[in-house]
Subunit: 462 residues, 2 copies
């Protein structure tokens, strides 16, 4: 029998109304003090409320239309709506549209004679046109365009199960406007050379120009971020949870710059914060519904979308290399998964942990090599991994018969033993946050040692 | 038994290869002579080829996923893929992304020292940044964003059957970036007052400022165009055909300006042509597959998308009022339909013409008023319409029992008698083109008489 959990609970209307009033207040107050961050918080609250309102109402429609899947890690395998992440993603997009006038508010009303009345006539409008930071608007629009493309792609994927090579390439096409705006407005393709490299090689240059290679690097980032979020998945709450942790980490980094308004990186980090704060609002609402025991599934769309949010912010706010530090967990998971992703080790269709209905805990899932035995050197490498406790193997007569699947999720279960789903998710998210925090501190301490320079403090240490 | 027509015919590879070479040649030649129109033609050919390649391959996937419908105007009611229009629409979007560097080519390579080598270093890039027409890029990006939003909306509609009020509002939200860019860069909310109005009222002003009302008008245009294309539908080839005719008409209008490079409206009409030429490419490929006997259905997505293409072009190229002239057919159909749309006259679920399998012709479909009789004054109005042969009524004892459905499609069948589906579609498209052509001529002749001024010839006649 299909078990469809009841979705629309009694809503705490009071909280909703209070939240709405607060959000509108924050958004509109921007017209008084020209602080886009305030609007961002307002839009974040609004995003949470709208998305939280829409998700339980959209879920039954999605199920009716065949967008549903069974939750294999629960007793009775309840049927949940799939691809629900498209709701918060589209909510975010439309909020970002509405955000535009508030983000650029001070430029839109610069030329009034006061008294609340807008001066009439052409001249004022011409002034607005010439003073307006078109390059920032173009950057903002290209960012949203990029996000919208990836939602469209994700939706096509959720609907039609696109092939791997299509998924792989289309984010890069969607990112063309972003890269062109980067080329036009910033165009910095230089990277700093670490001090020790300079000392070792005897170079005198403090930076080298990667030229077109740098665009290749950004393209790779755009392909990597969405896909890396998408493969760290399969546990209730993990898909969204990791993006919330990422969002908080990047925001903390932004705050380092925002506390000093004189920093040359102030504007770009303000931009980053304005993109991320509303994102956190919609992501948290999705997390609420996707947290153990999940009422809805997130779907590929949200994974692509959220990964792209970070790629876009990293590129347009010019901290893509710092961003990669925060993606450590995803990078480790990708590297660790790569033997299975690239076919060196047999990869079963699903690599989710195995649910044991007796104790309600998750156990590491396994890949069986009976039909497709490992090559000799791969087997040797797997044995080496086993020695460092990086994989759990089952051997018979010296031949590897089974191995735990190569995901960081299974690795946690190998290390810490079987866990309940929410414990596993919390452990993963906590680790991600801790690692990210360490990276953040290292970024602003070690970086100045390595490069002789940190853009946060704006002084050359060397 | 379900009859699924065979979809992938033997492809004339030679033509494809020749077309691809031609399109790449045209696109790349832009780097030599900086003519974006050439690239536009190249992208148009490329769009035709790509979309024509994808449509027959996507159709079976769409049918498998439940996106299909029966063609009721054919013997045996074959099952066709629905919503296929999303393929050419997305193709168009991605082509427009790729178009960006070619559209702005002369700005991107302005500062080279010649010899094919791009000067290295920061200074050149800074020059590019300052010379680049960011406002045009912002306008272009907001246009594409608007189109992408409407595709996303259309897709949600094709999938989840959104409610009427949602469909109605969301295009307006998607258009926010476009309207903001209009506000910033152009901001003209003045309209010319026709000469006779001035003479009648004794006003001395030649123009009045509509202010915020003008933004309301543009919002209405953005809601009207997509929806008006969507309700002139139901005959094989008509949905796409009407947009092809519209595209040709607007292009003809653009050509009037493009022949004189000194015209102040040259740039905006160049922009319009650059948007529409690639659109015609993808639309023609869809028309090929949707023409009688249709192999695929277009779906709401394409109707919304194509209507929005025109709204966007009209607004960002500043000829939205001229655009409405070309939409005469759609406006007439909307006005004629409105008694049924707004519930004054009973509206059956489908208003398609009725297919007679014996002679293979279409007959006007009818609304039956037995259950919901007409109000007195509505009945009187219907009788008046009948007198002008604008409706076909069936009466019994002086009471109207049935009426032909109020669409221009049924009206054509009332006027000219039963027709085969392709004849009906051709008649409608031909009429649309003829009416549009007359409007085009009137626009550039009568306008100068009415307003004492035509921006084409740039002289005040009065």
């Amino acid at each position: 029998m299909l078990v469809v959990p009841k979705l629309v609970p009694k809503i705490s209307n009071m909280f909703q109304v209070a939240g709405l009033i607060l959000s509108f207040g924050l958004i509109l107050s921007t017209s008084l003090n020209h602080q886009p961050l305030q609007s961002a918080v307002g839009f974040s609250i609004l995003g949470y409320i709208v998305s939280n309102y829409l998700i339980p109402r959209a879920a039954p429609v999605f199920i009716r239309k065949g967008l549903s899947g069974k939750d294999l890690s629960k007793v009775g395998n309840p049927v949940l709506a799939e691809a629900i992440g498209v709701i918060p993603a589209i909510t975010y997009l439309f909020l970002m549209f509405l955000f535009i006038p508030f983000l650029f508010f001070k430029f839109l009303i610069t030329e009034t004679s006061g008294g609340g009345s807008r001066d009439s006539g052409h001249t004022v409008l011409e002034d607005v046109g010439s003073l307006f930071p078109h390059n920032k608007l173009a950057s903002y629009l290209s960012s949203i365009l990029c996000l919208e493309s990836v939602i469209l792609l994700g939706l096509m994927d959720d609907l039609f199960d696109l092939r791997w090579r299509h998924k792989f390439l289309i984010p890069a096409v969607g990112a063309i406007p972003l890269l062109i705006v980067y080329y036009i407005d910033f165009g910095v393709t230089w990277i700093l050379v670490p001090k020790f490299v300079r000392q070792l090689t005897g170079w005198e240059q403090t930076s080298i120009d990667l030229g077109w290679l740098y665009y290749g690097y950004m393209g790779a980032l755009i392909i990597f971020c969405p896909n890396s979020v998408n493969i760290l998945a399969g546990v209730n709450g993990l898909e969204v949870g990791q993006t919330v942790v990422l969002g908080v980490l990047v925001l903390l980094n932004d705050l380092c710059y925002l506390v000093s308004p004189d920093s040359p990186a102030f504007e770009t980090h303000l931009y980053s914060a304005c993109m991320l704060i509303p994102f956190l609002g919609v992501a948290l609402s999705l997390l609420k519904w996707n947290w153990f025991p999940a009422k809805v599934f997130v779907g590929d769309t949200f994974c692509y979308f959220s990964g792209m949010v970070f790629a876009v912010v990293g590129i347009s706010s010019h901290f893509s290399k710092t961003l990669l530090l925060f993606f450590s967990m995803q990078i480790v998971n990708f590297v660790y998964s790569s033997p299975q992703l690239f076919g060196l080790v047999f990869c079963p269709r699903h690599r989710l942990p195995k649910f044991n209905s007796e104790d309600g805990k998750l156990y590491p899932s396994r890949a069986n090599f009976k039909e497709k035995p490992l090559k000799k050197w791969v087997a040797a490498a797997m044995l080496l991994l086993e020695r460092f406790k990086l994989v759990q193997l089952t051997k018979k007569d010296g031949i590897i018969e089974e191995s735990s699947n190569l995901t960081i999720i299974n690795l946690f279960l190998v290390w810490f033993g079987p866990m309940r789903e929410d414990q596993l998710c919390s452990a993963l998210l906590f680790t991600q946050f801790a690692v990210g925090l360490v990276c953040l501190v290292l970024r602003h301490t070690l970086a100045s040692l390595l490069f002789g320079y940190d853009n946060l403090f704006l002084k050359f240490v060397s």
